[in-house]
């Protein structure tokens, strides 16, 4: 039973941050596409902005791994 709870918790730990990151990056991507369409010089900055919410899912992954191992 303990094992099951552990894996379930790990799944939640990676799943929920992933949904949050997806939501955040989708909004950023949509706004970024509009900005690039008007001013192509900001492409570099937009790519960087797009990658900033990545942290959420990476930290969630770390917690999941720490639980499993």
């Amino acid at each position: 039973m303990g094992e099951v709870a552990k894996f379930f918790a790990a799944a939640l730990a990676i799943g929920i941050p992933a949904i949050a990151t997806g939501y955040a990056q989708s909004r950023i991507g949509a706004a970024g596409a509009g900005a690039i369409a008007e001013k192509p010089e900001v492409t570099g900055s937009i790519i960087i902005l797009e990658a900033i919410p990545e942290t959420l899912v990476v930290l969630g992954f770390v917690i999941a791994i720490m639980m499993i191992l």
Binding site: G44, A51, I52, T55, V58, L59, V62
Partner: protein, 656 residues
């Protein structure tokens, strides 16, 4: 480092004005400050400079010439012709044109324009027409090919007009509308046949009595259906003949186009270099005329205000003295703190830090007098990258990719980015040895163990450090590195605050440093890792730090502590991304092992390793960059500087 600048004032008799402008244009070091907005209209002594009649007239003529030359160049310039231009020859022409006086230049350029303008314009329009015809002929051929069988079904009657229509297949229903409309208008004297041209379009032929031509045409037009407009020559023939004519024409077009292009490139080969040089000369001369508006004047003298890098001052003064004697003087002006902020900013960095200057493009130019962050990011960015990627195999592949990129693309941005990649790759290889990772745990799978022999004796820890096992210590390391980096940022913030004489900021930053250090000391002493007597001094320091913080930053200073703590914790991503990189490589190796036979295994593992490589280059770059730009720079960086744009001659392709 931001190059130190001096503000200068150049004063001389008005008759030397244009000579001085030419002199400084040649020298190319002064960044001219616009005086015109500082001079008030009612000022007795100093007035705004205006160009006189003669110069305005000359400027207008040069502008006209510039426009015409530009249009000739745009007819001749294509990718190949531009590449064929030799920079050396262009510079030779540039200098020969520059040495001519305004009138000589004008007459020579006018002759050139007279010779070339008409011919190039004709050829360019002909080329565009032929290219357009190519496209339309291709379309017509397909359409006529499809309409031909339809047309056979119709009898060609005199007094009846045929109109061909094209529309999207999904709007086929419009045919019924057309039928009903036409039957109403023409009282049944019409016929409509349709067929599909390709997957998207349908063509239809409408035949109707000539009498109703106007009404039918307007009704069709109101339906927004595109009619196939036939060029004059074709509308008289039957569709069969039109099809053959179009096909013939289409066959002839390519050779005609090649002919025209050949003529254009012949002209380019002969004249383009000269034309480009003339364009640059005209632009520079025009710039000389335009810059006059930024000067000031009194009754007999002109006044120019500008900034020169400090190390060029002596040279400038010597050159000026040689050329003009004592009649024109260069004064170094003492500037107030406020004015120093307006000084232009140019960066100068040692060779190992220079590639990182391209990252400054992501932020505002730093303010003059602040610390140039480039050397710091040059040291720590590769370190963070290496700590995150940390794999010998991936590091070597990154170096290969950097080599290929530098070879393929010549732009300075890619060259600098390639150098950054080299440094990051070297760092990855170094940390790869420390972590004992070569394409993940490939070595452990093959050789069953990995152990660097001498390090336990030398440093006291057993190398390599396996990232999968040492998760918590790695986390502590990452946060420790973050702590150090943030403290460095705060120290730089103190330096900036001292340079700007902002007392509150000095206290705020020092207070923050003391608070953070004493916090750590407190935690360490509480956990009994250091002797317990340190508890009391730690608490004392903590209180001192908090007091300084509140004195420097007010109550917001206390809120900033939480911000700084979260910034430090943000560095945990170094461990997180590193771990995810290890796990990806492990998964890749496991997939390889599951294959069964070697070839399939290598293929599968190769695919996953490629994916891990892409993620492993992209992700650490972005996050190391973010750690610098957001957390590190947030502690000391001040934007709002003006970039250094010296009054310099172009000699190259781009205009200033």
């Amino acid at each position: 480092m931001l190059v130190p600048m001096t503000k200068v004032e150049i004063i001389g008799p008005k008759k030397y004005l244009y000579d001085i402008i030419g002199f400084f244009h040649q020298l190319g070091v002064i960044h001219i400050q616009d005086m015109s907005n500082k001079i008030r209209p009612g000022d007795m002594l100093v007035r705004r400079m205006e160009a006189d009649e003669e110069s305005t007239e000359r400027r207008r003529e040069l502008e006209n010439l510039s426009i015409k030359i530009n249009s000739i160049i745009s007819s001749l310039a294509t990718e190949e012709t531009i590449k064929a231009v030799s920079q050396g020859e262009k510079e030779k022409y540039y200098f020969s044109f520059w040495s001519e006086s305004c009138d000589e230049l004008k007459s020579e350029v006018n002759n050139l324009i007279k010779k070339l303008e008409e011919e190039t314009r004709e050829l360019a329009t002909l080329k565009d027409k032929l290219e357009l015809e190519q496209v339309t002929m291709a379309r017509y051929e397909t359409i006529f090919g499809k309409i031909k069988p339809l047309a056979k079904q119709l009898v060609s009657l005199k007094g009846f007009e045929t109109v061909a229509l094209l529309f999207d297949r999904k709007y086929k229903s419009i045919l019924d509308e057309i039928r009903s409309d036409l039957s109403r208008i023409t009282r049944g004297q019409f016929e409509v046949i349709s067929t599909d041209v390709d997957e998207e379009t349908t063509a239809a032929l409408v035949v109707f009595n000539n009498r109703f031509s106007e009404l039918v045409n307007s009704s069709l037009w109101s339906k927004n259906v595109s009619q196939v407009r036939l060029p004059e020559e074709l509308s008289e023939m039957s569709f069969e003949e039109a099809f053959l004519t179009v096909r013939e024409r289409r066959a002839k077009l390519p050779s005609e186009l090649v002919n025209v292009k050949e003529k254009l490139s012949k002209i380019s080969r002969e004249w383009l270099t000269k034309l480009l040089a003339i364009r640059d000369v005209l632009n520079d001369r025009l710039r000389e005329f335009q810059v006059v508006y930024q000067f000031g004047q009194t009754d007999y003298t002109f006044i120019i205000e500008g900034w020169i890098p400090r190390r060029f001052i002596k040279k400038t003064q010597a050159a000026l003295r040689k050329e003009f004697g004592e009649r024109v003087i260069v004064n170094e002006v003492k500037v107030s703190e406020h004015e120093l902020e307006e000084a232009p900013v140019v960066m100068e960095n040692p060779k190992w830090a220079k590639p990182f200057e391209i990252l400054m493009g992501l932020l505002q130019t730093p303010r003059y007098g602040t610390v140039d962050p480039t050397p710091f990011i040059a040291v720590f960015f590769p370190i963070f990258f290496g700590m995150m990627l940390g794999d010998v195999g991936y590091g070597l592949l990154t170096a290969l990719i950097a080599y290929w990129l530098r070879k393929k693309y010549r732009s300075p941005f890619v060259q600098s980015a390639g150098q950054i990649m080299y440094m990051c790759a070297a760092s990855s290889v170094l940390f790869g040895f420390i972590y004992g990772e070569f394409f993940g745990n490939l070595v452990e799978i093959v050789f069953h163990r990995l152990h660097w022999p001498f390090f336990k004796e030398i440093i006291g820890i057993r190398l390599p450090l396996n990232r999968m096992e040492l998760i918590k210590p790695m986390l502590a390391l990452a946060i420790g590195v973050g702590f150090g980096h943030i403290i460095l940022g705060l120290v730089l913030g103190v330096v900036n605050a001292i340079r700007e004489k902002a007392k509150r900021h000095i206290f705020e930053n020092i207070g923050m440093i003391i608070t953070l250090c004493s916090f750590i000391l407190l935690i360490v002493a509480a956990k009994k890792l250091l002797p317990n007597q340190l508890m009391t001094p730690a608490v004392v320091f903590l209180i001192i730090g908090l007091v300084l913080l509140i004195y420097g930053g007010g109550l917001m200073g206390l809120i900033h502590i939480f911000g700084t703590f979260s910034n430090i914790l943000s560095y945990a991503r170094i461990m997180a991304i590193g771990l995810s990189s290890v796990v990806l490589a492990m998964v890749a190796n496991k997939f390889g092992g599951m294959g069964g036979n070697i070839a399939l295994g290598i293929l599968l593992a190769g695919i996953f390793h490629a994916l891990a490589l892409v993620l492993g280059i992209f992700s650490p770059t972005i996050h190391a960059l973010r750690l610098h730009l957001v957390e590190f720079y947030g502690k000391f960086y001040q934007g709002g500087g003006k970039p250094y744009l010296p009054f310099r001659r172009t000699g190259g392709e781009n205009i200033g």
